[in-house]
């Protein structure tokens, strides 16, 4: 009982100075170079990084597919190397490539996986039927998975990873290669799982995806974490909000600069004559917006567009990745 309580209190996912090196000797290549990660239960955590940053390696270690070279990792309160089977009953994995038996039907796949989770024949059949219904695959009949569309395959793959109603779901680039509709479907599924209390760890190259889904984001590069925070916190690291005004008449650009300088209370106003754009950094976004609208009206300047925007995660990403050269670049400078 005591142990169980402790397990409940602990983080869903913990990585402490996690290292993984592929190959040995001169050919040794570190994929993870001291990764730290802490994901509290019931949250959606995004792991964001460029290709080769170590995202997939991290997921493979946390899902017990790969042994770390050094460091410690715990999932659901259990050590990944010491008690992998306890973890395996509690996690679901949606990998980059559909992990399905292509020759079998959707139902056969789910029943196979259900049996392997030791649900028994009838239990596996019941669970398969539930999941097929839930993911809108109930009418696929006996069609083999290799004849499925990309979206259907992804939905079935997700269904397969939910057979045990896992405490923790790992999604490794879940929407790579999906069309916008397929992407929306996966996003909605992740949201409803998160609402139901499932802890989700999601790797992605798409900043928008992390922005949409994740409570917190770890930015990783070269096998280590280079930044972490909520999407808003990360955006704040790049700089302040901006007010953008696009004027209808290019001749009024200078008047707009004057108005915006007054409204924003700074001299940091920039212009882009080609786009008829005037832009200012602001401290209080709503006050600045009101003042800008009123100022433009008072000066009789016709605006085509007025917007307050935060820096995008793209800007955060480029800003931080730029500060931390990737492993390859580091090697090149040695």
């Amino acid at each position: 009982m005591h142990i169980r309580e402790e397990r409940k209190r602990s983080a869903a996912i913990l990585a402490d100075d996690l290292r993984k090196t592929y190959g040995t000797g001169k050919a040794a290549k570190p994929a993870l170079d001291g990764l730290d990660l802490l994901v509290p239960r019931g949250t959606v955590h995004g792991v964001l990084g460029p290709n080769g940053a170590g995202k997939t390696t991290a997921v493979r270690i946390l899902t017990t597919l790969l042994r770390p070279t050094a460091g410690r990792a715990e999932v659901a309160g259990y050590d990944v190397t010491a008690e992998p089977d306890r973890i395996r009953y509690r996690i679901g994995l949606l990998g980059q490539h559909a992990a399905l038996d292509e020759e079998l039907s959707g139902r056969q796949n789910l029943e196979l996986f259900g049996r392997l989770y030791h649900l028994g024949g009838p239990g596996a059949a019941r669970r398969a039927a539930e999941l097929l219904e839930r993911f809108d695959l109930a009418d696929t009949g006996t069609k083999a998975v290799r004849h499925y569309s990309g979206g259907m395959r992804r939905r079935l793959d997700l269904a397969a990873s939910l057979i045990m109603a896992p405490e923790i779901l790992f999604l490794d680039e879940p929407t790579t290669g999906l069309d916008p509709r397929g992407r929306t479907e996966v996003w909605n599924a992740v949201r409803s799982l998160a609402d139901a209390g499932t802890t989700v760890l999601l790797t992605t190259q798409y900043l928008e995806e992390a922005d949409q889904l994740a409570d917190r984001i770890s930015l990783i590069d070269g096998g280590r974490r280079i930044a972490e925070g909520t999407p808003d916190e990360l955006k704040a690291t790049v700089g302040a909000d901006r007010v953008d005004v696009v004027v209808r008449d290019a001749h009024r650009l200078n008047d707009a600069v004057t108005t915006l300088t007054g409204a924003s209370g700074t001299d940091a106003v920039t212009t882009d004559p080609d786009r008829r754009l005037v832009s200012a950094t602001v401290t209080d976004r709503m006050a600045a917006l009101t003042a800008t609208v009123q100022g433009l009206a008072a000066a009789g300047i016709d605006a085509e567009d007025i917007a307050v925007r935060r820096p995008t995660l793209d800007e955060v990403f480029l800003h931080l990745i730029g500060d931390h050269p990737t492993g390859d670049q580091r090697k090149a400078t040695v």
């Binding site: 899902t63 017990t64 597919l65 790969l66 042994r67 089977d85 395996r88 009953y89 996690i91 994995l93 990998g95 980059q96 490539h97 559909a98 992990a99 399905l100 038996d101 292509e102 020759e103 079998l104 056969q108 196979l112 996986f113 049996r115 392997l116 989770y117 030791h118 649900l119 028994g120 239990g123 669970r127 083999a144 397969a160 990873s161 057979i163 045990m164 109603a165």
Partner: protein, 270 residues
Amino acid sequence: MSTRTVPLGRGQRAVADAVTMTRRGVAHWGRQPGTMVVGLLFPVMMMVMFAYFIGGGMAVEGGGDYTDFLVPGMLALTMAFGLEATMVAITQDIERGVLDRFRSMPIAPSSVLVGRSLLDMINSAVGLLVMLGAGWAIGWRWNGTATEALATIGLLLLLRFAMLWVAIYLGLVARKPEMVQAVQILVWPVAFMSNAFTSPDTMPDWMGAMADWNPMSATAGAVRELFGNPGWESGTWAADHTIALAAASPLLLLAIFVPLALHRYARLGS
């Protein structure tokens, strides 16, 4: 959610998981009966070709019937080869990521491989029956007792089981379906450097010695002996102890390749 089950004991779980994996493969057969039929008929075609195209030019020591000499050899050959399906199945699982799903699940680590070997054993047993029937149809007869016949079938299946584990190991080493072709080329010299088609006495000395010790030769010799079909008296130790060798060599192969394959499987995670 009431789907969480109490983990079974290790042994129970290993058996249950292996059976589930075997059922998976049986479901594949149901979906591709054509592939299975072709797999069963290919050795029959080989046997018929050897019996009628080449058999006319072959003489058996002591003047026996070549068909009676050939069929036991073909039975052993069928058990020892046709392993590409096993290798390809293993490599495909690795490539397609379905193995990653299995490995992320709480299953016995041995079950994927044991399930594969059981599945292919069922297939091979059916294949052996088809070959016995086809041999009968082209005039081969056995002259032993029912017990000897059962012992023969047992030795043939034992050889098959050992070869399947060799194939499972090679599949795990190859990892990619394209690599399997390279391995397949090696099959031919091994198949012919045996007593399946002709006596090793007719080969150069060193080659004949290797053919004598080829596990497939031992099984073919044992099959000839137990079925009462013509063989030869070469006087080598190996040729005189075919039954002992036919039992021992597959067991030796199993003792080597089962641990190797399980080890290799475990190393997929490093």
